[in-house]
Subunit: 490 residues, 2 copies
């Protein structure tokens, strides 16, 4: 199936793009920058959604839905927010088309111009805080712990499937709290959920940390993030959780009566992950043979291919394998028994390999004689012949093993590609090669900006988990409290 | 909680609107015609989604996602489609805002005008068939059985929460087939799924039938629908399934090589239900005491309220009731144990009654002594004291009974409000009183149109299930093959 599939080392960017398209995950649509998420790609998103949705609900969040449109004036209310988002947004100006009076086709009806333009939401803080104003009077109405699954639009000029598209799908949580501490706790709780999801489900190690002021969400007091390292040595921001302080409450006049019977502005958080995670998932594990998916998020976890010449043989094989398929399904494993007669086994093997199905079983006449089955792992590309009797337990064990192996491999890769750098020449040399660079930074936006201009590297995050240690800024030589993570990024 | 809540007979429309708002289901947003679906309302939608999604998947459908935006020119391709939808759509003309050079706020940046305007999808046939063109070469690529959960926008002038909003949520299925028969079978299969969902889950009886040409979907060969009768005697179209013939395949040049090795246009169906179903659900069962929800779609199926004066009493009650709550949850029942000390039991009783929770249990000190519990049914408003020992089975039985009772009540109501009418005077008199009218129709669009002009009644559907019987058109006196269903409609 995937002819002329490039190797990562030859052209990583082409490899990624070809993989997304040839593995039937997504494609570009007729609308600039907007993608079509194909069924196989969407099935990954559905798995991600269902896991994350449960994590949110288990921590007390509920879902709701807010309008796609945001009145233009709402954006002007929060000064940083408008700077961050107004420059790249789709604007609705009219609400009707009409037949072209001077020819074929249809044209915009100038009589149907909106009094105030509507912006397609790039994110929903403004319209949600305008709504919360009516929902919150007293501390008894708090906290509000609300999430929304939605599409958003940011008019990006350079787009890449999943990683950066004009329209994308995401979830956005918007919470309201009576105290600052509670809002910060919420921000951190979600960051932990995101990190857990990335590591335990996506098998992708991440660094948790806080963004530098330059990289902060427009309107936030602090932006926390999880950052992952891709195989080409570039960083990918996989999720963000913002402590918004009282910024949006002030912009939308959302006050409440606190326990001390005084009026105060409400404290807020917002947080989101998007279909970009699918891009991260693809890049984290896939190889020159195609997609590699962690079992916990693979739409098909096990593919079973019968090898036969005549219809009777297929019948005998099916009789033997159907109970295994059923037993696996009863264990909650997603199995595809592919007995199509339109394709040869070899074609099917390539197909499932390229599409990243974690385990492929094959069973033919000789296996029937020997009571065996062939098991092929996608992660290592190893094959083994095993007895069919214990196959259900064996499959379950292998799926676990693959999940763990993918995580370990990614973690090793990250360790091998994380560098402590202490002088500017080494920094420039290393950033060209890629990887996470742990370096001292003087804490100023100017230095950060100049480093970016010279090397295209940005501060990905100021990590939370490691110990502080003083040093000197790799660029300016000024004192620094701790190392931060630099990288080029998606 | 719901002060001044109107009665249905006094002002049905006000009753509906107040119910939606006071039961925390939805509210109007700052954007004209767009609603905010609040968590309690959205939880109903999530239940609907999960049931329908499983029904679609069990019948071989998969989900995908297509762009929000549709290039304007796509609409001109299918002549009827553009007539049906271009007149009421949100048009994106620009992709950037800028600071107002002559004052405060932000304005549209005229330098960022799109070459071709983009329409926010009112439905996605055009953009999907433009995509299918690249997916279909041969009969081996067929059928495509794809569904999408999405938001759509139709610029309605008069909007009502859930029933008719500018933006709404829905699913839209778009299937492609090698033969006409297969596409028709698919259309009917989905109609059956919709009817099953309405009757078995929403407890709302529906009539299955086909639309008259005047009421057909813009671009369809035939539109099939399910129609329900609301308590005010008006009809509500609850779902539609369209046989599209080869119309969109021709408009977007989607041909395939058939089994006879000849090029042919692809056959199609499309079908959808929307958040309008929540409006139907509300109107089908609710009463002057508030919302009534069928157990199978109620976000909270059982509310448990402890009655206590002191903290020790609450502890004793909790010890007694917690195993019951747990046992119910293990049976998959959604239970809320409401031990909040911020509200009195009486307040909680009103709250759960108004919000349509099917069963409410209450347990106080006297119950502890007697080993009993109070059970209140929302559908009949009956209360009974029962022994606590068999309560889990009793609750399960009652939830079933309530589900069935709501369906029976709705079915009786429909029967009582369905009238065979054979002359024009009776028709006009009856249509004023409401209900489904079964009357003969001569089959012409002119007659249909004149009946609509004189009475506001439309042909809701030409029913599929009942026997044909000839007669004379109630309006024109011309021969008629069968009775059709007339009503005023939402």
């Amino acid at each position: 199936m995937a002819k002329d599939f490039p190797k990562r080392k030859d052209n990583y960017s082409q490899w990624y793009n070809d993989l997304v398209i040839k593995a039937d995950l997504a494609e570009n649509s007729a609308v600039r920058g907007c993608m079509v998420i194909k069924p196989y790609g969407f099935a990954i998103w559905e798995k991600m959604q269902s896991v994350l949705d449960k994590m949110f609900k288990d921590t007390g969040h509920v879902n709701a839905y807010f309008p796609l449109f945001i009145p233009k004036s709402f954006f002007s209310r929060e000064a940083n927010h408008v700077e961050g988002f107004a420059k790249e947004c789709a604007v609705v100006t009219h609400y009707r088309l009409k037949n072209n009076p001077s020819g074929e086709g249809i044209v915009v009806d100038d009589d149907a111009k909106l009094e105030e333009e509507l912006i397609i939401r790039p994110t929903s803080e403004t319209v949600i805080w305008d709504t919360y104003k009516n929902w919150i009077q007293s501390y008894r109405d708090l906290p509000l712990l609300i999430n929304q699954w939605a599409n958003v639009v940011r008019w990006e000029m350079r787009t890449r499937l999943f990683l950066r598209t004009a329209e994308f799908l995401w979830q956005e949580g918007h919470t309201a709290h009576a105290t600052k501490d509670e809002a910060i706790d919420e921000t951190m709780k979600i960051l932990d959920i995101y990190a857990d999801f990335a590591e335990k489900w996506m098998a992708m190690p991440v660094i948790k940390g806080v963004k530098s002021p330059n990289e902060r969400f427009a309107g936030a007091v602090d932006t926390y993030c999880i950052e992952a390292l891709m195989q080409d040595g570039k960083a990918l921001q996989a999720g963000t959780s913002h402590f918004l302080g009282q910024n949006f409450a002030k912009a939308f006049e959302v006050k409440f009566l606190n326990k001390e019977n005084k009026q105060d502005y409400v404290w807020a958080s917002s947080w989101g992950v998007s279909t970009r995670l699918i891009g991260a998932l693809i890049m984290a594990h896939s190889d020159d043979s195609g997609l590699v998916l962690p079992p916990k998020l693979a739409p098909i976890q096990v593919a079973v291919v019968p090898i036969y010449k005549k219809a009777e043989q297929l019948q005998t094989i099916s009789d033997k394998i159907n109970p295994v398929v059923k037993a696996l399904q009863e264990k909650g494993i997603s199995v595809k028994y592919d007995d199509r007669d339109t394709h040869k086994p070899g074609w099917k093997f390539s197909e499932y390999e390229f599409k990243g199905v974690p385990l492929r079983l094959a069973i033919g006449p000789r296996d029937l004689e020997n009571n065996t089955i062939e098991v092929a792992r996608r992660d290592t590309l190893e094959k083994e012949i095993v007895g069919i009797d214990g196959i259900v337990d064996h499959v379950i064990r292998l799926l676990d093993e693959i999940q763990n192996n993918l995580y370990s491999k990614s973690l090793s890769f990250r360790k091998e590609n994380t560098f402590m750098v202490d002088n500017w020449e080494d920094f420039k040399a290393q950033i060209e090669k890629g990887g996470f660079i742990l370096a001292h930074w003087d804490g100023t936006g100017e230095t950060e900006q100049r480093i970016k201009e010279e090397t295209k590297a940005t501060i990905r995050t100021i990590p939370m988990d490691d110990d502080k240690a003083e040093g000197k800024c790799v660029f300016s030589g000024k004192p620094s409290e701790r190392r931060v993570v630099f990288a080029k990024a998606y």
